[in-house]
C-alpha cells in the first residue's frame, strides 16, 4: 500500500512537468513561432553581451524566430552538457570542444551533418582551412567555428635580451639553450601553473604530436589501434620525459602544481619569468602590464630534430557550435550560425570579447594587438592543428593524461609509470566501447 502511494506521488510530479512542457510547446505553436534553444559556454559579461546583441539582431530580422539562449562557464559546461544529453532534451544549437569530444556526440547521433550548408563558398570561404578541418570527421563537416585559438610560447623581450638572446628560438636546441642561459642568470625561464590540470596537457599534447608518428597517434587517440599496441609507442614516454625535463632542469618555476595558470600568468606579466606557454585568446590580457612595457613576442613550440611526429603543426583549436539532429528547424538554426559568422558579426565578436574571431579578416588592428593579428596569420599558415589533448582523446584517457601532467610535476612519478596509467585507461575505454 505504502509503495503504491509513493508511485502515485512520483507519477503526479512527473505528470505536472509533462503538462508544463506540453503547454509551453502549444503556446509557442499558437503564435506560429520557430523556437530554437541555444546553449554555450560564454556567460562572462563581455562575451554574453556579444551573443545577446547577435540573438536580438537575428530575431529582429526574423520576427517569427525566438532563440532561447543559455550559457554556463567553461568548467560547469562540461557537467551541464552531460546532464542535458542524458535527459534527452538536446539544445538545437550547442557548443562542443572539437576532436574526440565532438566525435563522441557524432557517434551517439547527437550532431547534425551540416556539410551541405557549409558547401556554399560564401560561407566556408570565411574560415581558414585548418580551422574548418577541426570539425571534419570522415569527410563530413559537423560544426561552425566562431573563434580560433592556438598556443604559443610568449616571451619577455627585455629579459631575453638581458641574457643575450635576440632571435626567437627556431628549434629545440636553440630553445633549451635560451632556457639554460636564463636559468644561469637566475631568471625563471618559464612561468607554469598546473594546479588546474588542463594547462599540463597543452604541453604533453604538443610534444606527443612532435614525437609520435602521426598515424600511430591518430590510431591511439581514436582507440582504433589493436589493444596490444594501444599507446605503446616509445614517443609517448619520450614526450612525457621532455615535459618533465622542464621541471627537473629548472626551466619551470618551482612547484607548478601549487600555482594556477592565472597565478603563473600574473607572475609572468609582472616580469618575474621570461616565457609562458599561452593561448592566443589570452594575448589581449597583457595590455598595461610590465610585460607590455618590456616588449613581448611569441613563437610556436619549436621543432624537435629527429622527432618521429609532425613538427609543422600548431597546438590549438577553434571553438564553435554544432546543431542537434533533433532540431525541428535546421535551416533556421544554420541561418543563425551563418549570421553569427558574417564578417560584421565576427568584427563585433572580437570588439566585444577581445577574442580572435574565426572569420578571416574580422580581426583588425582597430580591436586587436599586432601580436594577435600575427597569431591569427600563423594559424592561417599552419599545416594543421594539434587539438587540445584533453578533448581529443576519450574522457577517461584524458583523465589519465591530466593526472599524469600533475604527477610528473611532483617528485616521484616517472614518465614510464604515467604512460602505464594512460595505457590502462585506454585499454579499459576501448573494451567499454566494444
Amino acid at each position: 500500500m505504502k509503495r503504491r502511494r509513493f508511485t502515485a506521488t512520483a507519477l503526479a510530479a512527473a505528470g505536472t512537468s509533462l503538462a508544463a512542457n506540453a503547454l509551453g510547446t502549444r503556446s509557442a505553436a499558437a503564435q506560429n513561432k520557430v523556437v530554437l534553444s541555444f546553449l554555450h559556454k560564454w556567460p562572462e559579461p563581455n562575451n554574453i553581451r556579444f551573443f545577446r546583441q547577435a540573438v536580438a539582431a537575428f530575431e529582429a530580422a526574423h520576427p517569427n524566430v525566438k532563440i532561447n539562449m543559455d550559457a554556463v562557464a567553461d568548467d560547469p559546461y562540461k557537467t551541464k552538457i552531460r546532464v542535458v544529453m542524458a535527459s534527452g532534451q538536446i539544445p538545437d544549437i550547442y557548443f562542443t570542444w572539437v576532436g574526440e569530444y565532438t566525435r563522441q556526440f557524432i557517434r551517439a547521433g547527437r550532431v547534425l551533418d551540416i556539410t551541405k550548408y557549409l558547401a556554399a563558398p560564401d560561407w566556408h570561404g570565411r574560415f581558414a582551412p585548418a580551422t574548418l578541418d577541426a570539425y571534419r570527421t570522415d569527410g563530413k563537416l559537423y560544426g561552425v567555428p566562431i573563434e580560433v585559438d592556438a598556443k604559443f610560447m610568449v616571451c619577455n623581450k627585455a629579459l631575453l635580451a638581458k641574457v643575450g638572446v635576440t632571435a626567437l628560438p627556431a628549434d629545440w636546441p636553440a630553445f633549451t639553450a635560451a632556457l639554460n642561459k636564463l636559468k644561469a642568470a637566475s631568471i625563471t625561464p618559464i612561468a607554469f601553473g598546473s594546479q588546474l590540470a588542463w594547462a599540463t596537457v597543452h604541453y604533453i599534447g604538443d610534444l606527443n604530436a612532435k614525437l609520435v608518428p602521426p598515424d600511430v597517434r591518430k590510431a591511439d587517440y581514436t582507440l582504433r589501434a589493436p589493444v596490444a599496441e594501444l599507446f605503446t609507442d616509445p614517443g609517448y614516454v619520450d614526450a612525457m620525459a621532455h615535459y618533465r625535463a622542464f621541471l627537473t632542469n629548472g626551466w619551470f618555476n618551482k612547484t607548478p602544481n601549487a600555482l594556477t595558470h592565472a597565478a603563473a600568468r600574473a607572475s609572468f606579466y609582472a616580469g618575474r619569468a621570461a616565457m609562458m606557454y599561452q593561448e592566443l585568446v589570452e594575448f589581449g590580457l597583457a595590455a598595461g602590464t610590465k610585460l607590455a612595457a618590456d616588449g613581448w613576442d611569441f613563437f610556436p613550440m619549436p621543432a624537435i630534430p629527429g622527432g618521429r611526429g609532425r613538427q609543422d603543426l600548431l597546438t590549438g583549436a577553434p571553438d564553435g557550435f554544432v546543431v542537434s539532429p533533433t532540431c525541428k528547424h535546421p535551416d533556421v538554426a544554420m541561418a543563425f550560425l551563418n549570421f553569427l559568422t558574417t564578417r560584421s558579426q565576427g568584427e563585433a565578436f572580437t570588439a566585444a570579447t577581445h577574442r580572435p574571431s574565426a572569420v578571416i579578416g574580422a580581426v583588425t588592428a582597430k580591436d586587436a594587438l599586432p601580436q594577435t593579428l600575427r597569431g591569427i596569420e600563423a594559424i592561417g599558415r599552419a599545416k594543421g592543428m594539434v587539438l587540445w589533448l584533453d578533448t581529443d582523446v576519450e574522457a577517461r584517457v584524458a583523465s589519465a593524461f591530466l593526472a599524469a601532467g600533475q604527477g610528473l610535476m611532483g617528485s616521484h612519478e616517472t614518465p614510464e609509470q604515467a604512460m602505464q596509467k594512460v595505457r590502462a585507461a585506454a585499454v579499459a575505454a576501448q573494451k567499454a566501447r566494444g
Binding site: K78, A86, Q195, M409
Partner: protein, 301 residues
C-alpha cells in the same frame, strides 16, 4: 461549529497529521527515495550520458571498484578524513568546551573565544577554499611565511601542490572550520550537567582533569556519540571543500569518494560506475546510521 459532526471531527483529527506530512513525504520520495532506487539500478549498468542503450553488467561495476587503485586511494582519503576529524572535531572540541566552561577564563574572554572559534563555520565553503588556497601558497602564503618567521623554514611546503601534503592540508581546513562549531554544541551539553556534581567534586578536592574525566565526559556522552556519528557521516560524504580547493589533484592525491564519483560521472562519463561509488557511500553511511539507531534505541530502553 456549524455543520461539522463529531464524526467529521474524528476523521479530520485522524487524517490531519497525514495530510500535513504528505507534502514532505512527496518531496522526499521524488528527491530522495526515488533517486536512491534509481542509483542502485544505474549501478548495475554500464552507460553514459550519450549511450543510446544501457548494458546490464550486474555487479560488474562493483568488481571494477575492487580492482581500481583510485577507488581504494579515495576511500583511504575518507578514512583519514574521518580519523582526523574525530580527534579534532570531537575529542579536541570537547576539551575546548570544558576549558571555556570551567570558569578558569574570565567571562569576557570565554565569550570572545566562543565567537572566534564559531566564526569559521558560518563562512561559505567557496570563500574558505579560496582563502586557504592563498594561505597555503608556497613562499608568499601566510603559512610558509609564518614557518619561516619562527625558524621552521625547513618545514615550508607547497601544501596544495605536493601529493604528500595536499590531503592533510585540506583536512586541516575542515578542522579549522568545524571544531569551533562542535565546541559550541558541547558547551550547550556541558551546561546541561547539574552544577551540584562539580560543586561536590570540588568539596572532595577533585582537580580540573578529574572533574573533566569523571563528570563532564560521562555527562555529555549522548552529545559525544551524536557528534561522532555526524562527523563520520560528514567524512564519508565530503566533496565540496576538496572540489573547491584541488578538484582531487594533483595527480588524484586528494581524491575522496565524493570527488572520484563526481569525476567518474561528469568528466569520464561513466555514470554506472559513478552510481556504484554512490552506492558504496550510501552503504557506509547506512552502517553508521544503523549504529546510531541501535545506540539510541538502547538509550530509550
Amino acid at each position: 461549529m456549524g455543520g461539522l459532526t463529531r464524526k467529521h471531527h474524528r476523521l479530520a483529527a485522524a487524517l490531519g497529521p497525514y495530510v500535513a506530512l504528505a507534502p514532505v513525504l512527496g518531496l522526499l520520495s521524488v528527491f530522495l527515495y526515488l533517486p536512491l532506487i534509481f542509483d542502485v539500478i544505474y549501478s548495475t549498468h554500464e552507460w553514459s550520458s550519450l549511450s543510446p542503450t544501457w548494458r546490464y553488467v550486474g555487479l560488474g561495476n562493483f568488481q571494477g571498484l575492487l580492482a581500481d587503485p583510485l577507488f581504494w586511494q579515495s576511500l583511504r582519503g575518507n578514512i583519514l578524513y574521518a580519523a582526523v576529524s574525530l580527534v579534532f572535531q570531537v575529542a579536541f572540541a570537547l576539551m575546548l568546551a570544558a576549558i571555556l566552561e570551567s570558569g578558569l577564563l574570565r567571562i569576557r574572554w570565554s565569550g570572545f573565544f566562543r565567537i572566534a572559534f564559531f566564526l569559521p563555520s558560518i563562512m561559505p565553503i567557496t570563500v574558505i577554499g579560496l582563502l586557504w588556497q592563498i594561505l597555503y601558497q608556497p613562499d608568499v602564503g601566510l603559512i610558509d611565511q609564518a614557518l619561516k618567521a619562527v625558524g621552521l623554514g625547513a618545514y615550508a611546503h607547497a601544501w596544495l601542490g605536493e601529493e604528500a601534503t595536499v590531503l592533510p592540508a585540506i583536512i586541516a581546513v575542515s578542522q579549522w572550520q568545524w571544531t569551533g562549531y562542535l565546541t559550541v554544541l558541547f558547551i550547550v551539553a556541558i551546561r546541561g550537567i547539574p552544577r551540584e556534581l562539580y560543586e561536590a567534586a570540588e568539596i572532595d578536592g577533585a582537580r580540573a582533569w578529574r572533574k573533566f574525566w569523571h563528570i563532564t565526559v560521562p555527562g555529555v556522552s549522548e552529545t559525544t556519540v551524536l557528534m561522532t556519528l555526524i562527523t563520520i557521516f560528514g567524512a564519508i560524504k565530503v566533496f565540496d571543500i576538496v572540489w573547491v580547493m584541488t578538484a582531487g589533484g594533483p595527480n588524484n592525491a586528494s581524491d575522496v569518494l565524493g570527488s572520484y564519483m563526481y569525476r567518474s560521472a561528469f568528466r569520464d562519463d561513466r555514470v554506472g560506475y559513478a552510481s556504484a561509488i554512490a552506492v558504496v557511500m550510501f552503504v557506509l553511511c547506512s552502517i553508521v546510521g544503523g549504529l546510531q539507531l541501535r545506540w539510541s534505541q538502547r538509550r530509550s530502553l
